[in-house]
């Protein structure tokens, strides 16, 4: 996967968390996820993508990171992965995909994004089609790590 496709997602992730949750995440080195390789998480939000880029974008958080984000976003105390956290994780995924879509459209890649799907469960993971590369971008904040998975097949015809 071309780094040209990754940078917009990195920027939109940092932008979403800094603007809405007053957090400044540090980024680790992206890596290609192997089949069956798991990511430590308790909750994730996924956005389906279709068009000249197709696949999905998933952001996965531990419970402590997800709760911190929601506490900062809404100014409330959160003691579990309740409905507020589920909704907020879906919205963060939405902002990451939507922000990247804006930048990628300026590079000539047009695609649509779907409504978010949120999954909960200790170390759950998503299996992706084998022909779609899945790049994991690790981030960290004081409360722990979180991950953005970019699983996209990009149609480069004519670009």
């Amino acid at each position: 996967m071309n780094v040209e496709y990754l940078n917009p997602f990195i920027k939109s992730t940092v932008n979403a968390l800094s603007t809405m949750a007053c957090l400044e995440p540090s980024r680790g080195n992206p890596y290609l996820r192997k089949t069956g390789q798991k990511i430590e998480c308790d909750i994730s939000g996924t956005i389906g993508v279709a068009g000249e880029a197709s696949g999905s974008v998933t952001v996965s958080f531990s419970e402590s990171v997800a709760r911190k984000i929601v506490e900062n976003m809404l100014g409330i105390q959160v003691d579990s992965l309740n409905d507020d956290v589920k909704d907020a994780v879906g919205e963060i995924a939405n902002m990451i995909a939507g922000g990247a879509k804006g930048e990628l459209s300026e590079k000539g890649y047009s695609f649509k994004i779907a409504l978010p799907v949120v999954c909960i469960g200790k170390d759950h993971y998503t299996e992706y089609p084998k022909d779609i590369p899945c790049v994991v971008i690790p981030f960290s904040v004081e409360e722990g790590a979180f991950y953005v998975e970019i699983c996209l097949k990009v149609d480069d015809n004519g670009k």
Partner: protein, 119 residues
């Protein structure tokens, strides 16, 4: 001034409502999607709507309002993650008065509201 916040995300409705409250708006109602909002427009002076929603999306909702004799003059600000220029153009052409891309700061929302009210 009575405003309605239309968004399928309860998080975003709460954030927009909190921001509007800090700007002095106290009469704020909510709807989860366009279809829900169409039943709540009596007396509404300004609409904040998301784009991607179930049941009725924001663009369809805006077009319904603009073709309605009763509600077509209500100012509409779209608040959405859709950040592509062609999306913004499509929304404006459909009748949106101003456009806010999520994530946003309170200052951005304030300036967009002022721009609409000063027209």
């Amino acid at each position: 001034m009575k405003v309605i916040v239309v968004d399928d995300s309860s998080t975003m409705r709460r954030i927009i409502k909190n921001t509007l409250a800090r700007l002095g708006y106290t009469d704020i109602i909510e709807a989860e999607h366009g279809l829900d909002a169409l039943t709540k427009l009596d007396g509404v002076d300004m609409i904040f709507t998301d784009w991607n929603m179930p049941e009725m999306d924001g663009l369809t909702f805006v077009k319904s309002i603009r073709s309605s004799d009763s509600y077509k003059k209500i100012p509409i600000i779209m608040v959405t993650t859709e950040a592509a220029k062609e999306d913004i153009v499509e929304a404006i052409q459909s009748g949106v008065n101003n456009y806010v891309v999520k994530p946003f700061t309170p200052d951005i929302l304030k300036s967009k509201i002022e721009a609409v009210l000063n027209r």
